[in-house]
């Protein structure tokens, strides 16, 4: 299970990376493995509000549909449109395939470091 040390994580298996005040958000290797092959991603629009702990979109795999939960509150400033035609990127490159970027970050959910997240996955 790949859990990069430089990222922060949510208990609901999103990762977040801060880049000059902008939060870059995706789903973890654990999440994509548990979901199985992702076949559809429902994305928000640029300019939408994101709220910490609330869904900003969802991913659909052959097994189930799961909410994407935002680790931070703010404004969605970029959306990875590439995922619309190539949702499988979430499986093949979960840490490269970011989903949204959020600016004006106001509030963050309780985030885990890599070590704590690894322990959380182990306990699931």
């Amino acid at each position: 299970m790949n859990i990069p040390a430089e990222l922060k994580y949510t208990k609901s298996h999103e990762w977040v990376r801060m880049e000059d005040g902008v939060a870059v958000i995706g789903i973890t290797d654990y999440a994509q493995d548990a979901l199985g092959d992702v076949v559809f991603v429902n994305l928000p629009q640029q300019g939408d509000d994101a709220a910490a702990g609330e869904a900003f979109g969802d991913v659909e795999s052959v097994k189930a549909v799961s909410d994407l939960v935002s680790p931070v509150s703010g404004t969605v400033c970029a959306v990875n449109e590439e995922l619309v035609d190539a949702p499988e990127l979430l499986n093949s490159d979960p840490y490269g395939a970011w989903i949204i970027k959020v600016e004006n970050v106001a509030d963050t959910e309780e985030l885990l470091d890599a070590e704590a997240y690894a322990a959380h996955c182990e306990a699931e």
Partner: protein
Amino acid sequence: MKLIFEKSVPGRHCSLLPKCDVPDAALPEALVRQTAPALPELSEVDLSRHYTELNQRVHGVNCGFYPLGSCTMKYNPRVDEDMAALPGFAGVHPLAPKDAVQGCLSVLDTAKTYLCEITGMDGMTFQPAAGAHGEFTGVLLIKQYHRKRGDFKRTKIIVPDSAHGTNPATAAMCGFEVVNIPSAPDGCVDLEALKAVLGDDTAGLMLTNPNTVGIFDENILEITRLVHEAGGLCYYDGANLNAVMGVVRPGDMGFDCIHMNLHKTFATPHGGGGPGACAVGCKAFLEEFLPASALMQGEGRLQVRSFMGNFLVVVRALTYLLTLGRDGIPEAAQNAVLNANYLMRRIQGTFEPAFDRVCMHEFVLDLSEYKKETGVSALDVAKALIDYGMHPPTMYFPMIVHEALMLEPTETESKETLDWAADVFREVYARGKTDPDYLHGAPHHAQIGRPDEVRASRNPVVRWTKP
């Protein structure tokens, strides 16, 4: 297998319709299509063979064991079909005057009486077309109840995270905000989590009992009391009624409103899309909001469906009720529970139950440890069962159990069938331990191999196009 369109040969036809013996009625020119529709052209024997071929590629409850959890695929007695085929029922016109359809009305009224008795409700409608439509109707009753009282602040419906997906969808369709509460580890309602979200904005709670993992929530009286105390109403999803029918009544558990899937619990064939039928029952204080129907007209009442709903399914349900009777209905529920427990214990020791306790009419196996050890997933096991002539159980549901297989054997299966099914599970379990690749490729002997579900989902081709 070729599609019927691919079997088509221009000019071929069959003479199924008699010659037209009335004058042609010409449509206005603007309504006449300019090109002929691309309909298949086949002879009668080709057509007959086509459908027989399709028939041989499916698995129904008449072909073999069908333990599809949460769907109650019980065997449907032939007498129910016989009654539904009686010309007086099958041929009735939906606009026939009331004095010509007294028998049909009597069917609806008698079915209502018995089903109200079984569920502890006072009023009932048979209008909704199936389960989710019934939920929608039921939750609208709750909505109207609050509105009529001028209580407009009740905007939230509480749904446990183990619920059927239709529950939150229904609440959202009715314009409510859905509040998800986490289940306790046994899938039952977490009372503290419930208390934390109850308030003067609570419109109601949607619940099924026994719950989605096949466990009867022993706190049910406390749950409904808490919701009522907060001013909300309690909605019972009857998906799991088969476990308790004639034994314990949702009305006595404190529910105000309920739907029953007549096509599941009261025996109507429903694989492949129906038709289903749903009975929505309610306590007396909600009766004034029920939709209009053949049994109940009145000013201000609207319908949720045309005519009388799927009437012939009600005929089957009533036949089922009358043939089983007051003793047979609870006995069916008891046998459903007995069969589920028997099968769970016979499989245990290989695949383990997610909850090691007495279950109701269905149980969930948790394959996550097995998958860690062998790499064989719940999907692989489900596919392997097809090779034995068994319909796979429900997979990956409920979502609170990882690698879930959910089995509901139903009351109509014999001990021999259950023993056979348990042996099959044990055999598949052993095979996965020694030869996981074999299961990754299953099924190996079925009419259809493993479809590429990922490709089908990413690039769905749902329509034939003329080459």
